[in-house]
C-alpha cells in the first residue's frame, strides 16, 4: 500500500532528538526510563508527566537526546492540553518520533497516529502492554500494522523492559511514513495550493497546511512567526475560499475521513476472543468508584496505611534511633569538648546530627519509606483516578469539575506536580485548584509524617485533624467559588486506567527513587536549617525572635514557645518541621490537642518552595505570591480560632 524509504543516517553535527509522544498513560515514561537508564516517576494513570523531560542515550554508537513528553490526544484541536508538546514538535522538530500506544486501546491512539504520520517525521511505534492485551484475549497483528503505516511497529512490555532492544534498533534506522489519507478533493486542492504559496515552513508543510485549513489557532500563530504579512493575507484568503467553496464543515469532513480510516485499520488488525479474565480487577475497580462501597474502601486503605506507618515505621524508627542515632550522638558528645562544638554537632536542641542528619535519616526516612511503598502500590494498581469519581460530589459544590478534580487528587501525591498539571484548566478553576492544592491538600510526605506524629496519640487525633483540614478546604472552596467571577466550568471527561495487580519490582524501584530524591534534596536542607537555628540560638537572635512571637504562638495559638523552631523549619522543608514535632511530642512538650493543631498548622502553613515556584508558573508571579501570603496568614488565623474554640468549650488543657 505504501512505499517507504530508509532515512539517510544523519551524520550532521549535533545529537539526534527522539521525542516520545502518545496518549496519557501509555507508558511513555517507562520507555524513557528504559532508553535513558534515567528515572522519571511512573504510575498507572495520566498526568504523571507534566513537563517535558530530557535525557541522553546512546544507540548503536549514536548519541541521542530523548524527550519524554506529557500525554497528548491530537495535534489539532482547540484544547490547551499538550501545548508544550505541540510547541516542541513544531519548533524543535525532533528527528525521530516514538509513539507509545497502549495496545488495549489501539483505536484511541490511532487518531494521534494519523496526526503524527502526516508530519512526515521518521517514526517508530511502540505497541505497549502487549501482555495485558493477550490476557484480555485481544491479538494485534503488528506486522500488518507496520505495513499499513510503512514504519516499524515494535511490541513491548514496558513494565518489564521487554522489546526495548528491538525498539532501540528501530529508532536507529527509522523510516519516513507516507501520509496515509486523502481528503475530499477541495481540501486536497487547498492544501497543495497552500504548500505552493512558498510561505510555509518547509518541514511538516502538509500538516501545517492541513491545520491551517481548519483554522487551528496554534498553527496560525506558528506560521505568523515565520511568514510575511502579505503571505499571511494570501494564506487567509485561500483558507476563506476553501470554507466558502466547501459544502459543509471542513473540520468535520477531515475528522470523518480520519475516523473511518482509524476504524478500518483497527478492525483489520485487532482480533478479539472473549475471555472472562480480570473479572476480579474489574469488580474491584467498580467497588472503588461506587458511591457507597467506595468510601469504606477508601477508609480501609487509609486505616491500613495508618497502621503500617505507626507500627512498622515506628518499630524501624525505634530500631534506628536505638542502635544508630543515640550511640552515635553519645560517642560524638564524648569526644568533643564541652561548649560550641559539642552543641553544634550533638546539642540536644539544634545539633547538626540530632536535628539535622539523624532527624532526616532515623525519624523521617522510615515513615516516608513505608508511606511511599503504600502510595507506590496504589499508584501501580491505578486506584488514584477512581477518587475522581468518588469525590465528584464534593468538588461539584466548590466549583471544580473536569480535569481540575484530577489535579487536586494528584496533590495527595506531590503538590508541585499537581499544581503544574493545572495548565489546561480554565482560569477560574485553575485559581481554585491551585489554591486548594497549595493550602489544604497534604502531599504524600506530609500525610505520612502526620500519621507518624499523631499516631503517637491515637487514630482519632489523626481523624479529627484531617477532618478539620477537609472542612477548611471545603469552606475555602465554597468561598472562592463565591467570590471568583463565574465563567462557566469545564466538564469531567476522564479516562480511568484499567485496574491491575501491582508489580512489586516497579513499586520498590519507585520507592527507592523517591527516598533517594528525598535524601538528595532534603538532607542538605535539614543540615542547613539546623545550622541556621543553632547560630540564631548561639547569637541570641532566636530568643529575641521567640520573645517577639510569644503573644502569637503562646497566647493566640496555645503552643509551647518551641513551636517557633518548627515554623522556621517548616519554611525550609515541611519534613524537617515534622521531624521536630515528633521529637517534641516524644519529649512530652505537646499534648494531644496541641499536637493536632501543630500538625494542622504545619500542613496549611507556607507551601514548599517548589510548590510556590509551580504556583507562580501557573497563575502568574503576583497571584502566586499573593496566594502564598494568604495561605500563611490564614493558617495562623484559622489555627488560632480552633484553639480558642477548644478553650471556649473547655476542651483545652495545658
Amino acid at each position: 500500500m505504501t512505499v517507504t524509504e530508509p532515512v539517510k543516517q544523519s551524520t550532521q553535527a549535533g545529537k539526534k532528538k527522539v521525542a516520545i509522544v502518545g496518549l496519557p498513560n501509555t507508558g511513555k515514561s517507562l520507555i524513557y526510563n528504559h532508553l535513558t537508564g534515567d528515572y522519571t516517576l511512573v504510575a498507572n494513570y495520566m498526568l504523571t508527566t507534566v513537563e517535558p523531560k530530557r535525557g541522553k542515550c546512546q544507540i548503536h554508537g549514536c548519541h541521542m537526546e530523548v524527550i519524554d513528553t506529557p500525554g497528548l490526544h491530537c495535534l489539532s484541536g482547540h484544547s490547551t492540553e499538550g501545548l508544550s508538546i505541540r510547541d516542541l514538535i513544531f519548533t524543535e522538530q525532533p528527528d525521530v518520533i516514538v509513539q507509545c500506544i497502549d495496545a488495549n486501546q489501539l483505536k484511541q491512539s490511532l487518531t494521534l497516529t494519523v496526526d503524527l504520520l502526516e508530519l512526515g517525521i521518521p517514526m517508530v511505534i511502540s505497541l505497549n502492554a502487549i501482555d495485558e492485551t493477550a490476557r484480555r484475549g485481544i491479538w494485534i497483528d503488528s506486522t500488518t500494522l507496520s505495513h499499513t503505516f510503512g514504519i516499524p511497529v515494535i511490541e513491548t512490555i514496558a513494565t518489564q523492559g521487554r522489546g526495548i532492544a528491538e525498539l532501540k534498533k528501530a529508532i536507529a534506522s527509522p523510516r519516513i511514513p507516507v501520509p496515509p489519507l486523502r481528503y475530499p478533493d477541495a481540501i486536497e486542492q487547498a492544501v497543495s495550493d497552500l504548500q505552493g504559496l512558498g510561505a510555509l515552513p518547509t518541514v511538516h508543510s502538509r500538516k501545517i497546511a492541513l491545520l491551517l485549513a481548519i483554522r487551528d489557532s496554534f498553527v496560525e500563530q506558528h506560521v505568523a512567526r515565520v511568514a510575511s504579512p502579505e503571505d499571511i493575507e494570501r494564506i487567509k484568503n485561500r483558507v476563506d475560499d476553501l470554507h466558502l467553496q466547501f459544502r459543509g464543515n471542513v473540520a468535520t469532513a477531515i475528522a470523518s475521513v480520519r475516523s473511518r480510516w482509524v476504524d478500518e485499520v483497527a478492525d483489520g488488525v485487532v482480533k478479539r476472543q472473549k475471555v472472562r479474565s480480570g473479572e476480579f480487577a474489574k469488580t474491584f475497580g467498580h467497588l472503588c468508584r461506587h458511591p457507597i462501597f467506595g468510601i469504606p474502601i477508601l477508609f480501609l486503605i487509609l486505616a491500613t496505611t495508618y497502621f503500617l506507618v505507626v507500627r512498622v515505621a515506628g518499630a524501624m524508627e525505634d530500631f534506628l534511633n536505638g542502635y544508630i542515632a543515640n550511640p552515635c550522638v553519645r560517642w560524638v558528645s564524648a569526644i568533643t569538648p564541652r561548649g560550641f562544638w559539642r552543641d553544634l554537632l550533638a546539642g540536644p536542641d539544634y545539633g547538626l546530627l540530632t536535628l539535622g542528619l539523624f532527624n532526616a535519616l532515623c525519624t523521617v526516612l522510615p515513615i516516608l519509606f513505608v508511606f511511599f511503598l503504600i502510595l507506590g502500590a496504589l499508584e501501580d494498581i491505578g486506584y488514584i483516578p477512581s477518587l475522581c469519581v468518588l469525590t465528584k460530589r464534593v468538588f461539584d459544590k466548590i466549583g471544580l469539575n473536569g480535569n481540575a478534580i484530577m489535579s487536586v487528587v494528584l496533590g495527595f501525591g506531590c503538590k508541585t506536580m499537581a499544581t503544574l498539571s493545572t495548565a489546561g484548566l480554565p482560569r477560574r478553576e485553575k485559581l481554585i485548584a491551585v489554591y486548594l492544592i497549595a493550602a489544604y491538600v497534604p502531599c504524600s510526605a506530609q500525610m505520612g509524617l502526620s500519621m507518624g506524629i499523631l499516631g503517637r496519640y491515637s487514630f482519632w487525633a489523626l481523624l479529627a485533624t484531617y477532618g478539620t483540614i477537609f472542612l477548611m478546604a471545603v469552606f475555602a472552596g465554597l468561598l472562592l467559588n463565591r467570590i471568583l467571577p463565574d465563567t462557566g466550568t469545564g466538564v469531567l471527561v476522564q479516562e480511568l486506567p484499567a485496574i491491575r495487580w501491582p508489580s512489586p519490582r516497579a513499586v520498590i524501584v519507585k520507592t527507592c527513587y523517591r527516598l533517594y530524591w528525598f535524601l538528595r534534596e532534603a538532607v542538605p536542607i535539614f543540615l542547613g536549617a539546623a545550622l541556621v537555628l543553632f547560630l540564631a540560638q548561639w547569637t541570641g537572635l532566636l530568643d529575641t525572635l521567640k520573645a517577639a512571637l510569644r503573644p502569637l504562638v503562646v497566647t493566640w495559638l496555645g503552643m509551647p514557645l518551641d513551636m517557633v523552631d518548627a515554623l522556621i523549619l517548616c519554611i525550609a522543608r515541611h519534613e524537617a518541621a515534622a521531624g521536630l514535632l515528633i521529637r517534641m511530642s516524644d519529649a512530652g512538650k505537646l499534648n494531644v490537642a496541641q499536637c493536632g493543631l501543630a500538625v494542622l498548622l504545619t500542613t496549611v502553613f507556607i507551601p514548599c518552595l517548589a510548590n510556590i515556584v509551580a504556583m507562580c508558573k501557573r497563575v502568574g508571579l503576583k497571584t502566586g505570591l499573593l496566594m502564598t501570603v494568604a495561605i500563611s496568614l490564614s493558617a495562623f488565623v484559622l489555627v488560632g480560632m480552633f484553639h480558642w474554640i477548644l478553650v471556649f468549650y473547655g476542651a483545652w488543657t495545658t
Partner: protein, 242 residues
Amino acid sequence: MNVGQDEYLEALWCLREQEKDTLADLQTALDDPLDHDILASLAAVGMAVFNRETGTVTLSAQGLDHARALVRKHRLAERLLHDVLGLRNQRFESEACTFEHLVAPNVVDGICTLLGHPRECPHGLPIPEGPCCTRNEHTVQSAVAHLSEFELGESGRIAYLNCRDDSLLHRLNGLQIKPGAKIKVHQKYPAWVVECEGGMIAIDPRIADSICLWRQQTPPPPEHEIGPQETEKSAKWRFWRP
C-alpha cells in the same frame, strides 16, 4: 403501487365501510372522473375484483391488507396533524394525503403509540388497528435515546453528539466517543462511567445528556467463549454495581 392506485384502494376501502360496491358509488367517492386503466391495473395485480355483470368492484384479500395500511396511515396522519400540530380546515387533509405515501410502517406504529392508539380520525371514521394497538403499547421505543436515559449495563451505539463545544468534541473524539462507537454504562452516580473501545471513561452527567445513542440489546454470549460462563453467584452480586 403508484399514487393513483393508492387513491383508488383508499376509496374502495371507504365504500366497503359504507357497504357500497358499485362503480357509480366509486365515481361519487372520487373527485376526478373514473379512470378505467387504473381499475384494470388493480384487477391485474389481484388487488381488486371487478365484476362486469353486476357493475361492482370489491377489494381482494391482498387489496384489503394494502388498503387497510394506507387508510391507517392517512387517518393517523390526520390525527397527528390535527391534534398535535394543530392544523385546521382542509389543510390537514391534503397534508395527510402527502404523508401517507412517505411514512414507513414501523414509524406509523410509533405515531399510533404516541397518540395513544386513537380509534377514529378527526372526521369520525374508524382507524384500522395495527399490531401496536392489539399489544396496547404505552411507550414509543424511540430509535435514538440520550445516554442519560440508559440503565446500568445497557449498551448502545452512538448516533450523534449534541455538543457545541469544539474542544470538548475533540476530546471525546480522541477517547473514541464518536458516532458509530459502542458504549456500555457501568456507573451513573456521582459521575457516569462508561466503557468505550476497551477504555473506561468517567464523564460528567451533563455530557451524558448530550450523547445520543441507538439502543442495543445485549447479545447472548457467543458460543466460543473461553473460560467459565457467568455463574449464578456473579449474577446475584450485581446488586451492588451502581
